[in-house]
């Protein structure tokens, strides 16, 4: 009997603790992939996100920010339990952070069902871009097809006739290749899907080389891409077919671990560290000062997710408990993005420019990305037309 009294007392304390919640702060549940082969991505998003609050003495848009950071281990079951905690116990105002679509998609119904705002700092799946678009769901990064579609355009322009495609077998991977195929006009030599998280690509590279394509378009985020490029180069395969990729696998984190062999890889992105605008100069300088490395597009996406929250909090005058006003302020998205022009489409996915970058060795011997052109201006994903926002 004594045990039961203790239990009840404990529950009562917990209840009191959570009842103290009022809009004197903004509660953010940040769940991302912080361990395993995808960890580098989650860490960059987190660092970018935290930079905003750090630069404003722990505040987002004038309210004290209470940011709970949790690792989803790239496992949907873990993510599901974290979401339960965020929505039913901590009652956060905003959830953000997830990297991979195969983690995001299974838990999204639970988040949206609890009417909690979700801001995606990375994956922008087709599901929520079209009919299932939701007033509580925002993507500050891109739709999954966008950067790949831009690369398809680039490869048309460069007259590459026979391209070999490789991506992990998960929604993000399949959508990326769909995006590529949407714009690319030449022949597809083969379309290979590997296991998500695969690290040894020896068998795939051998098969790929036997197919003798003109070029290879690959989408392998995180450690997968690092391994693929290293192994591709060490097999001498880049003499046969050059590599093309969305910006994810040719960013500063990959360059750091692969080095010299990266030089010459072309990649498409919504942002680059050498874009010339004041917000970007401040972002790159602040990030380098805080973390001692160049930011990646993931870091920029995390940074903008936090900037978006801060802007909405500021524009509602801190009254985020007024859900309708908060959602309206998020939709209006008034902040200076390092990527330059940015606004939400009707489906809460971005309308923005896409750029072509090349990995170069600059005059100081540093290997880094250089923007060499613009592929699309004000590009909107093809799904928004099917969205009727409730």
């Amino acid at each position: 009997m004594k045990n039961k009294t203790c239990l009840l007392a404990g529950i009562a304390v917990l209840a009191l603790a959570s009842a103290a919640h009022a809009a004197d702060k903004v509660k953010v549940g940040f769940m991302s992939t912080l361990s395993g082969p995808g960890a580098a991505i989650g860490v960059d998003i987190r660092d970018g996100f935290e930079l905003v609050a750090k630069g404003d003495s722990g505040k987002l848009g004038g309210l004290a920010a209470e940011i709970t950071i949790v690792d989803d281990q790239q496992n949907p079951d873990t993510a599901r339990q974290v979401v339960e905690r965020f929505t039913k116990r901590d009652r956060v105002d905003v959830i953000t952070g997830m990297v991979f679509s195969n983690v995001l998609l299974p838990v999204m119904p639970a988040i949206l069902g609890s009417k909690t705002v979700y801001i995606s700092p990375n994956t922008g799946p087709e599901d929520y871009a079209a009919e299932k678009c939701d007033p509580h769901f925002f993507v500050v990064s891109w739709q999954n097809e966008d950067t790949a579609a831009a690369m398809g355009q680039v490869m048309n322009d460069r007259n590459l006739k026979n391209v070999y495609l490789i991506a992990p077998n998960y929604p993000g991977g399949r959508e990326t290749l769909n995006g590529f195929k949407r714009t690319y006009k030449g022949t597809i030599a083969s379309e290979v899907y590997t296991k998500l998280g695969q690290l040894d690509y020896a068998a795939e590279i051998a098969t790929l080389r036997a197919a003798k394509p003109d070029a290879v378009f690959f989408f392998l985020p995180g450690g997968m891409g690092t391994n693929f490029i290293k192994q591709y180069v060490s097999a001498g395969a880049q003499q046969d077919a050059k590599l093309y990729t969305p910006g994810f696998s040719a960013d500063e984190d990959t360059i750091k671990s692969v080095g010299e062999p990266m030089v010459g890889i072309l990649n498409t992105t919504q942002w680059a560290h050498d874009l010339d605008n004041p917000a970007n100069r401040k972002f790159v300088a602040d990030f380098q000062k805080a973390y001692g490395r160049l930011p990646t597009m993931y870091a920029q996406q995390g940074y903008d997710a936090a900037q978006l929250i801060a802007a909405a909090v500021r524009d509602t005058g801190g009254k985020i408990e007024d859900k309708a006003a908060f959602l309206k302020a998020l939709q209006a998205a008034k902040f200076d993005s390092p990527r330059g022009k940015f606004r939400f489409n009707t489906n809460h996915y971005p309308i923005q420019d896409y750029h072509l970058r090349e990995v170069i060795k600059d005059s100081t011997g540093r290997i880094t990305n250089k923007t060499i052109g613009k592929v699309y201006s004000d590009y909107a994903d093809p799904f928004a037309a099917r969205c009727t926002m409730k």
Binding site: A39, A40, A203, Q231, V233, S234, G236
Partner: protein, 305 residues
């Protein structure tokens, strides 16, 4: 087509030899001490982390391997003396659990020391390019070295087990522990030494595979399962069985991944082929294991009569 086959055979050989390095230690421990050690994969992980740390500090890959081998062997022997020894006489259930606990502990300790993100371990620059084996057949130099080291280790192990006194003791211990003890073999010392040797082989595999895969928490678990499949196929306690089993698994797995999807594409409608091909390819080695156990319940080369 021929170059593709040669290349895939080499890939299979490389996987098989690395599996052998893990399975050899596992099968000795299993055979001699009748002990299931799930934490064998953790020694592989620790070896890789030690190698990465020393490589980072010294810049020398050879130094990294040596340090990993020595360090892991010491850790392995310490583990044997403290935690594992009391478990020899316990049931397999308790061994499975205690070593499962060791996996949890090792993973968390590594996470605390090295962080949750993978650690970089790069192959030596001199080996990072391809070698032209035949016209049109370029193969990564580093993978050739891995194959070479794997073969050398297998040969060394064969000589030790088949032609030295220690090897004789090991074989005696594996086939009849009590009798070996009665004949004057110092089994306590032998166990510790065998465990240390097994740990050292793990470290070699961990250090060599580190640059090809990733040095990260949990890296030991998947490969551990494969190593178990290898020794069960080969027959527990038999080093020769481990070698045959490892090569079978390595080649079958690589061949299955390349050939089966292609075969199904040729034979079945695309919808069926794209489903069944990869599914069958990834379970092929487990089918092999179940098949071997069905017909030879003690594996291909049982160490005990």
């Amino acid at each position: 087509m021929l170059t593709l086959v040669v290349e895939q055979v080499l890939n299979g050989l490389q996987l098989g030899l690395m599996l052998f390095l893990l399975a050899a230690g596992l099968t000795l421990v299993f055979g001699i001490m009748d002990m299931i050690n799930l934490a064998h994969g953790s020694l592989y992980m620790i070896g890789a982390y030690l190698a990465a740390t020393v490589a980072e500090a010294s810049g020398s890959f050879v130094a990294a391997i040596v340090a990993a081998v020595v360090g892991t062997a010491v850790i392995g022997m310490a583990l044997e003396l403290t935690v594992l020894r009391p478990l020899y006489r316990r049931s397999h259930l308790h061994q499975v659990l205690a070593t499962f606990a060791l996996i949890l502990i090792a993973n968390e300790l590594v996470r605390i020391i090295w962080g949750a993100q993978p650690v970089a371990l790069n192959m030596p620059a001199a080996l990072s390019g391809p070698v032209e084996l035949a016209p049109g057949l370029r193969y990564p130099a580093y993978r050739l070295v891995v194959i070479g080291v794997g073969l050398a280790a297998a040969l060394l192990l064969y000589v030790v087990v088949a032609h030295t006194r220690v090897g004789m003791w090991l074989r005696a211990g594996a086939s009849d522990r009590e009798m070996a003890g009665a004949m004057g073999v110092n089994t306590a010392w032998l166990f510790t030494a065998a465990f240390g040797a097994g740990a050292a082989l793990c470290a070699v595999a961990g250090a060599l595979l580190g640059p090809l895969l990733a040095v990260q928490v949990g890296m030991g678990e998947n490969i551990l399962i494969l190593a178990f499949v290898v020794i069960v196929i080969g027959g527990i306690g038999s080093v020769r069985g481990a070698l045959v089993g490892a090569l079978l698994v390595g080649l079958l797995d690589t061949a299955g991944r390349t050939l089966l999807p292609a075969l199904f594409r040729a034979l079945a409608p695309p919808a069926v082929a794209s489903e069944v091909g990869p599914a069958l390819a990834s379970i092929l080695i487990y089918v092999l294991m179940a098949g071997v156990l069905y017909f030879h319940p003690r594996g291909l080369f049982p160490a005990r009569g």
